[in-house]
Amino acid sequence: MSPPRGERRLEQAAALLLEREVVPGPAPVPDFSALLAARVRRGRRRTVGLGLAALFLLAGAFRVAGSGALIASFDPRPVSYVVGGGATVSGAGVEAAPAGEPARLSFSEGTEVSLAAGARVTVAERTRRGAVLELEHGQAHFHVVHRRGARWSVVAGPFIVEVTGTEFTVDWSPVAGRMVVDLITGAVRVAGARVAGAVELHAGERLVATAGDGRLTLGPAGGAAPEAGALARADEQPAPAPPPASRVVVDGGLQSGRVRHVARPLLALRTPAQAPPPAQPELPELPVPVRDGNPVVGGETRGPRLDPLPVEAPRSSSIPQSLVMGGGGLFCVTVRAQYSFEDAANGLSAPNAFTMALSRPRIDRTHSWCGEASVRMDASFDARGRRNFFGRFANETGQLVVRLDRPTDLTGKTVTMHIYVEGPPDARFSAEIAAVQHGGWASSPAMRELTPGRWWTISHRFDVENPTGVRGSSNPMPFPNGGVSSVVETDRLALAIHTTGDRREWKGAVYVDDISW
C-alpha cells in the first residue's frame, strides 16, 4: 500500500535533501573536561546570582528609600554633560581654545574632564554606566567618580584606557602615534594597538605607548618621559626615545622591580635597550598580497592584478610609515579609488544585529593605503555569549557596510579593498567582500590566515550570477533569499572580518581604505 500523498511528498523532499547532502568531515576533539568544569561553575554562579537577586529584592521590599547611589544605579538614563570654560562645541566634539581657559566637561554623575589648550575630545557614546570619550589630540585630565559598575573608556588612536573610578591624564599625539597616561589615583587598564592583552596602571605611574611599534613603557609618573602636553606640539617631530623604565614586563614575566598581579599575562612591554627590534618587518619583502578569494594554486595567488612593491621608507623612523601610511606606494599613482575616505564618512555603518566585533567607523588619519586617511573601526573579537542568527558568536565577526552613492552595476568588475588590522601578533583572521543588492548578499570566498600589522588587498570579481551565502563565509547559514544574486544594481558593499586561528579573543582596530572597481 502506497503512503498517503502528504507523506509521499515529504519523502520526496527528504530524498531531494539526502541526495545532495554534504557529509560533515572529521573534527578535532574539544577539551570536554574544561567545558564540563566551566558548565559546573556557570551553574554555581547562576545559583548564587539567583540567591543574591532574591535577597536583594527582599531587602528592597523593606527599604523603600535607598541612598542616592542606589537610586542612581537604577537610573536608566545615560549620563549627560555640560561644557564650560573656553570650549568650542561641534556635535559631540569639544575642542579647547588654543590659549586661555581650559575647556571642561562636567558629567551628571560627577565626573569631570578638563581639556588643555588645543585638545579635542569627542563624546562617542554615553550609557547609564559611563561614556566613551575619544581623545582626538592633545592633553586631557580625567577625574572619574568611582561608582559600582561604572564603565568609562578613553580612546586615543589605537589605544583604549578603561576606567572604573580614578584620576588621570592622557596626552595623545596622532601624528607621532604616541600616548602618555599619567595616573594620579586609582587604577586603569590600557589596551589596543598591538598590545597583547591589557596593561594595568596603578597610582603614581606613567605609561608611554607608541602606536607604530606597539611599544609600551611603564615608569613612575613625572619621569623623563615627554612632558604632558608636549606631544601635541611635537607632532611633526620623530618620537623621542622613551625613558628607561623602572619596571619592565616582557611577554608576561617581570624582569625587574616588584611583583604584582597583571590582569592578563600576555603583555608586551619593552624598554628600548632591552627590546629586540619589532617583530613586524619595516618593509615587506614580497609584493603586497592580492587574491581574488580563489584557492591558492601552487603557491601563486590568482588575482586580477599584482600590486607594485611599496615604496621604501627610512628605517630610522619609529613608526614604520611604509606599513601604516601610504602602504599602496606606486599603486596609488596608477589606480584611482571610487571611495578613498579622505574626508567624508557618509554611508558607513557597522551592522550590529548579528556581527558585532567591529564598531564606530570613522575617518582616521594615522593609517592610509593611499592619501592621508582611512576608515577606522574599533575591533573587539571574542567567542563568548550566545550564538547569533548564523550559529556563530556575534563577536567573532565584524562588518563594515558602505552605502554606494547610487546603484552600481558590478557585473564583470573586480572590487578591491585594502585593510590593515592592528591586533596581537598571534591573531589570525579572514576577510571577504560582499556586494549587496536589494538585501541579497553575494559574498566572495574568504581570504584566510591574514595577520595583523600590514596592509592586505582583497579583491573579488563579480559575475552575472553570484552564489550567495558562500560556504565558510561570515553568513553561511541557510536563509530563504535565493541561491544566486545579481550585482546589476548593487547598493552597498560590505567587508566582513572573521577571527580565526587559535586566538579568538583580541582587541585592536581595523582600517579600511580605497575601495575601487
Binding site: P3, G6, E7, R8, R9, L10, E11, Q12, A13, A14, A15, L16, L17, L18, E19, R20, E21, V22, V23, P24, P26, A27, V29, P30, F32, S33, L35, L36, R39, P351, A353, F354, R386, R387, N388, F389, F390, G391, R392, V401, G439, G440, W441, S443, P467, T468, G469, V470, R471, S473, N475, P476, M477, P478, F479, P480, N481, G482, G483, S485
Partner: protein, 222 residues
C-alpha cells in the same frame, strides 16, 4: 553492542579518555544530524560540542547501553530545537529593515534542484521547531515511530499523533509554494527514501521513558 556498553560504562565512570572516544565514534552521527536539521552551510561543530557536553552530563540517565545512539539523538534533536527557537526569536527581534541577512547556499550543479532545495529550506524555516525535528527524525534519519518517540521523550501514541500533525502542517507550508510542490510531485521517490514499516502496537518493555510519557506508556500497557 558490546562496544557501546563499554563506552557507556566508561562515560558513567567519568573516564576522560571515553570523552574523546565518544566524540570520535558518535561525533559524525551528531554532526550529520545537526547538519540535516539546519541544512547545508550550517556549521555543526559548535552545536555538536554543546550536544556532547549535555550528553556527558546526562549519561547517568541512560539505563540501557543499547539505547546509546537513540539517547544521544534525542539530546541532539533537543539542542537543535532549542537553537531553532532561539534563531526564530532572534529573527523576530533583531531583523533589520535593511535585511543584513544571508542567503541559502546549497552544493548542487542542477539549477532546478538547487532552487528546489532553497525553497524547501525556506519552507522548513517556517515550520515550528518540533515539526522540523519530527521531520528530520522520521524522514531524514529514517527513525521508526518508537525511536522518534524516544528521541522526543513522547509516548508512542503521542508521537504518532504529532507526526501526523507535523506531516499535515509541513504539507500545508509546502503547498504555499506551487513551483516546489510541482517539482516534488513529479520527482520520483529516491531509493534512499524512508520505508514505511509496520510499527509495533506498543513499546518494548525494556525502553525506559521518563515523566508523563512513561505514565502514558504504563497506561497503554495496562
Amino acid at each position: 553492542m558490546a562496544d557501546d556498553a563499554a563506552l557507556v560504562a566508561a562515560l558513567q565512570a567519568r573516564d576522560q579518555r571515553a570523552y574523546a572516544q565518544a566524540w570520535t565514534e558518535l561525533g559524525p552521527m551528531v554532526r550529520r544530524l545537526v547538519s540535516r536539521f539546519f541544512g547545508p552551510g550550517a556549521e555543526p561543530l559548535d552545536l555538536s560540542q554543546e550536544v556532547f557536553v549535555r550528553f556527558f552530563r546526562r549519561i547517568d540517565e541512560l539505563r540501557n547501553p543499547e539505547g546509546l545512539r537513540g539517547f544521544l539523538a534525542g539530546i541532539c534533536l533537543g539542542v537543535a530545537r532549542n537553537e531553532a527557537r532561539r534563531m526564530r526569536v532572534r529573527r523576530w527581534v533583531s531583523l533589520t529593515p535593511a535585511g543584513e541577512l544571508p542567503e541559502v547556499s546549497v552544493p548542487s550543479s542542477d539549477i532546478e534542484a538547487r532552487q528546489a532545495m532553497q525553497r524547501l529550506y525556506a519552507a522548513l524555516n517556517r515550520a515550528n521547531a518540533l515539526d522540523r525535528s519530527l521531520y528530520v527524525a522520521r524522514y531524514l534519519e529514517k527513525m521508526e515511530v518508537e525511536e522518534v518517540a524516544r528521541a522526543h521523550d513522547l509516548s508512542f501514541g503521542t508521537a504518532k499523533r504529532r507526526l501526523a500533525r507535523a506531516t499535515a502542517r509541513l504539507n500545508r507550508i509546502l503547498e504555499r509554494d506551487a513551483a516546489l510542490v510541482s517539482y516534488l510531485d513529479r520527482s520520483p521517490v529516491s531509493s534512499r527514501a524512508p520505508v514505511v514499516a509496520d510499527v509495533p502496537a506498543r513499546l518494548p518493555a525494556h525502553i525506559p521513558l521518563a515523566g508523563r510519557p512513561a505514565r502514558a506508556a504504563m497506561k497503554e500497557r495496562a
